[in-house]
Symmetry: C2
Subunit: 221 residues, 2 copies
DNA sequence: ATAAATATTTAGAATACTCTAAAATTATTA
DNA sequence: TAATAATTTTAGAGTATTCTAAATATTTAT
């Protein structure tokens, strides 16, 4: 069994290696967990001893198979709880993360199994992120960044790249959520922002940055 | 904010003072938490500093108003989660305690509020224990121990005194649960056990000890 | 290729919680 | 009430996690 803290480190390492496609370095982990590099070094030694990571001094770390399985189990729990909070308790998508961060540490395989069934085996969480199966497999999806759509093209929101609270609240205020149809009206030269029609109704300008953070499934014409 | 461990101590003290109507002594707390008396002493000092308990050396402790409020908040969370686990996820009553023990430490007032509403503001948990309101009030009930019923009298199970797993599994095997109707057929001289009719069907012998652990609402004749 | 900048590790110490063994206090009992 | 038993506290130390500051290694820039 692993401590709460060890689990947080494994999740952070998983997140970083996803992002960088390589190994997670001390400072990156320290940044992710808002702790000091020295604390990270201490913990890396411990995690290496428990064979959750491969660790070479000064060279960064990556997860072992065992570490990866733990990471996906945590991600699975986190995202299942997010679905529960959003769908059953009616929380908004920006409210679910912090609570799920706590719930993901609850230890009970049976609980996860029953929660999954109760929620009807969801494949994606309220932010559109895929929920790994119990053996660590993710459902893939053909999605593109909203910024790749040309004027005249449309897509449905299927996920987000980053989901910090301010961004989620901003999307909420524009009535953009999972499943929302977005149609590109025009590309504006200024900061590469786009004019967008939202669900065939309201029109709004989205920055290039915002578009890059929104994944859509392209509507085939 | 209090640590997980501090919360466990407060719950233990609450439980003991409920039982003994007085103050909780070091050894009792150590027993309840399966820890050493020395550890308890350390923690009592800490809890006293945080004004959660009144503590006099060698004299035992009792909760302050602040401590009592914390204890009932924890109990509320624990029991609401038990209802969730039993009613929504289909766990048996002997399976819910350990998981709820973890879930009760999740910090979010909003979560408790929504969970309560989602469960339709339950007043009792799956063992029949009352769920305190958010301001710490308990719903009372006119219940008596099953051992007080004379032959010919009947009652409906509304709660249990102790609920360790073996006892709960024993009751399960007899098809005794909350709401079950129990009719006393006769008192047996041997160990004061009773012959009982269960839900107007099956007949079974219950020990005096078992009867004392079952609370019933007497059926008025 | 060396100096400077950056990243990482080590050393030493702090906090939270735990323990065993010994000392102190309170309760029992005869 | 004095001796004994039981309980509680203190002392000293261990594990887990964290920190700052100093030392070391690596990378970058000249």
């Amino acid at each position: 069994m692993y401590t709460h803290t060890e689990e947080d480190y494994i999740k952070a390492i998983f997140k970083i290696t996803e992002r960088t496609q390589g190994s997670a370095h001390t400072n990156a982990i320290a940044g992710e967990l808002s702790t000091s590099a020295a604390s990270v070094t201490d913990m890396l030694k411990k995690l290496a001893e428990k064979t959750l990571i491969h660790y070479e001094k000064y060279r960064g770390v990556h997860l072992t198979g065992q570490g990866k399985l733990l990471a996906t189990k945590l991600l699975r729990k986190h995202r299942l709880w997010e679905v529960f909070l959003a769908e059953k308790l009616g929380f908004e998508w920006h409210e679910v993360h912090d609570i799920a961060e706590q719930l993901e540490h609850i230890r009970s395989d049976e609980l996860v199994k029953r929660l999954d069934a109760y929620l009807d085996h969801p494949k994606f969480d309220p932010h559109g992120d895929p929920i790994p199966s119990s053996d660590g497999k993710f459902t893939l999806r053909n999605q593109v960044g909203l910024e790749t759509l040309s004027p005249g093209e449309s897509g449905f929101v299927v996920g987000l790249k980053e989901h910090d609270t301010p961004f989620l609240e901003y999307l909420n205020s524009l009535n953009i959520r999972l499943g929302t149809k977005l149609s590109v009206i025009q590309w504006l030269p200024y900061e590469k922002s786009r004019t967008m029609r939202i669900d065939n109704a309201r029109e709004s300008v989205l920055s290039f940055q915002a578009c890059k953070n929104i994944y859509v499934k392209k509507q085939q014409l």
